[in-house]
Subunit: 427 residues, 2 copies
């Protein structure tokens, strides 16, 4: 780096080790990079001889349903794991390290299935609403789709996402490999409140039970208040009908709640007085406290963020100016602020948040960093509109203990070595 | 319909022929449908015998890159047309009638290619910036991706979209078949302003020329002011890298401008004093006026809307309560309001706009209609934040004449017959 340039007021440092002011990403502000002559990061000076190749043969045909480039085949779900003797009972992780923006392509949405993906014919599938209601109702998919719908861009995160954070030594995986039981889509569906009102909920009711049509018959209890608030019977994802791996033809969608409760392949909603205490909410999906007792029904996913670039597998390529890019989200609402540190948490600067900043959705944040080529630890810390602050791993474990399996939301630290390699570290 | 129920204040009519107030779609308001007992649109009363089937075999496996349900195979691009002797020179239309929300799946994004889809290796592709600049620059894809990026959800519409509206008799196609040279995605890329500042634009420059690497070498001139404003070199679409049919590995993206100018498979940007007057902007993509003279460089796509449900191919199924759902967009900015009429334009009521309402993006609108089973003509009229109002076909032709091929933005009328069938009509 040329240090005479680093004094430019247009590229003001806001925290230690080269973190720059976020205004570089505000409207037209990014042009500062070029205008100050500090850009020239990586392009070559061109000569007349260097005009890139023009194809001289007709290209490929139009198609009914497009595909991606063969040069992108290496971008795939991470960690595909299924239980012994099965092919569909397990999980796969979204490759967050290869994606940008806030929409997760449906083909790369994470998976967590308990007995594989059922092949459901929408012409015969029905949704039953029964239990403590005036009139039990049965909806064909055509009948359901007559109802008014709403669309929202919102994340879904598995309750067990990032659980490797409890490992005694940091696991060396990409941002998606560590934290990719996490995706964000535009969901369109019918508000469950309409269907419950139509069935007529008994005043004694306080919970619902949702059951999937997969052979695991996934069953979860959900408070009636949530069901009557922002819960959807989701029919569309990212514009088209749900994919089979996301519950085709319909799934429950509980914004901000742990993913498992948003039951896929939904076949019935039973209105109940209390929680049903199913196997899926007693043997699993409970939070063990330091004293050995368990918390149940801890639905909302807490405020969290990760840096996706640079990250493990996306190394730095020599000293110079870099964009730090990452994702923040919270089950409590909108992201209010994201702080970034490039000196291991000693000093912090505010990241720029990409619009739109939506309720219970991914928010893409960006920060500018002039890396001097020395060792560095980079990290992000999200704050949501409720005021909740993402904790450090040390704070998180001090408060929640080491016996839990779910709801890990501590800060991710990436260590950058002088050779540019990035690794996962705890401190 | 039971007329005693139609008097309920919760379901107030706001315009003729059964159009209801939009508050039915505002937060929790949708529950009115059920709470007033006016719902019970279509479900059956259930008995204990009617619980839908539970799968009793393990489902399908986890996968690296997911696919949609085989039951959705009929949802495909419309009108796939290529010029005689070619397979890739032509267009395909997004099936808007089968989609919901505001995101178009990349696999169903419309296509308009002039010599097919080139197969470009990103490891060898480069972007040249030259012409009236201090230093011509050549960017590898890796070098380009070091620059700061921005993400935006924005539409792209072919200049020739909806041109069948000039046909003397209304063409009987679906909403996507008529208007589907139109899609909306989350685009992520590098602001062109940064790269131009880095190259150092000469004060004499007022335009740029953009050229694609396809064998048609698509070339378009764009005002420098637009290039320095909100123009992107797009790298990602809907989270993942661009698809080949959308310009992989990079395309120009000019928000709100006619799609053709957002040159795909971008290989160079030449900074120029004036427009280059290429074949693609002189022999085509000009607007013939009633007097036979032509307007050139009419870039912004004007305010427009269409109802996608009900629509041709999505018939009504008996008298009763329906949701009208559609899309509105404008190259001038955000959508301010959408009016809906169900009596052929005699009276209008305001539709509910789904959040988020974004700049130069699709806005999903919804209206509630109690159809009495009689003949009806339904239509939508969009107004953007600049105050521009979508014209009727009659107004549009009176003002613009019949000789044009581009920038058709008149109101779409759908006629609903008593048997529920929907057809395209001009009045």
């Amino acid at each position: 780096m040329d240090n005479s340039e680093s004094d430019s007021s247009a590229l003001q440092a806001v925290a230690g080790n080269g973190l720059l002011h976020r205004r570089i990403f505000l409207t037209r502000g990014a042009a500062l990079l070029g205008a100050t002559g500090l850009g020239l990061l990586t392009p070559k000076l061109a000569t007349a001889q260097t005009l890139p190749e023009l194809s001289n043969v007709p290209g490929a045909a139009l198609s009914e349903y497009g595909t991606r480039s063969v040069f992108e085949d290496s971008v795939k779900r991470n960690n595909i794991l299924s239980y012994p003797g099965t092919t569909g009972s397990g999980g796969s992780w979204t490759p967050l390290e290869s994606l940008e923006g806030i929409i997760t392509p449906s083909a790369l949405h994470f998976e967590r299935h308990h007995s594989g993906i059922p092949a459901i014919n929408p012409d015969t599938h029905q949704l039953l609403i029964h239990g403590l209601v005036k009139r039990p109702l049965l909806f064909s998919m055509d009948a359901l789709c007559r109802y008014p719908m709403v669309s929202r861009i919102q994340f879904i995160e598995c309750s067990g996402n990032s659980r490797v954070g409890w490992a005694p030594e940091p696991v060396q995986k990409s941002s998606g490999g560590l934290h990719g039981l996490l995706s964000c889509s535009e969901w369109t569906g019918v508000p469950l409140s309409i269907l419950l009102d139509e069935a007529g909920v008994d005043p004694k009711a306080n919970w619902i039970l949702a059951e999937g049509a997969d052979s695991a018959a996934m069953t979860r209890s959900v408070p009636l208040a949530k069901a009557m608030d922002d819960t959807l019977i989701a029919v569309y994802q990212n514009g088209e009908k749900l994919r089979p791996s996301n519950g085709y033809p319909i799934r429950l969608f509980l914004p901000g709640y742990e993913g498992n409760a948003s039951v896929k392949w939904l076949r019935r909603i039973k209105v109940t007085a209390g929680p049903t205490m199913t196997r899926d909410e007693t043997a699993e999906y409970t939070d063990t406290r330091p004293d050995g007792s368990s918390l149940m029904f801890t639905f909302p996913m807490e405020v969290k963020s990760i840096i996706t670039a640079p990250s493990l597998g996306r190394p730095m390529q020599g000293a110079g100016l870099y964009e730090i890019s990452g994702l923040a989200w919270s089950g409590a609402g909108k992201i209010a602020r994201v702080d970034v540190s490039v000196d291991g948490g000693r000093t912090w600067g505010q990241a720029a948040l990409s619009e739109p900043v939506l309720d219970k959705a991914f928010t893409r944040f960006r920060a500018a960093w002039r890396w001097n080529g020395g060792p560095a630890i980079i990290m992000s810390r999200a704050i949501d509109e409720s005021g909740a602050v993402q904790p450090s791993r040390e704070q998180f474990i001090a408060s929640k203990g080491l016996k839990r399996d779910y709801h890990y939301n501590a800060i991710q630290n990436w260590k950058v070595a002088p050779n540019g390699k990035v690794s996962n570290v705890y401190a």
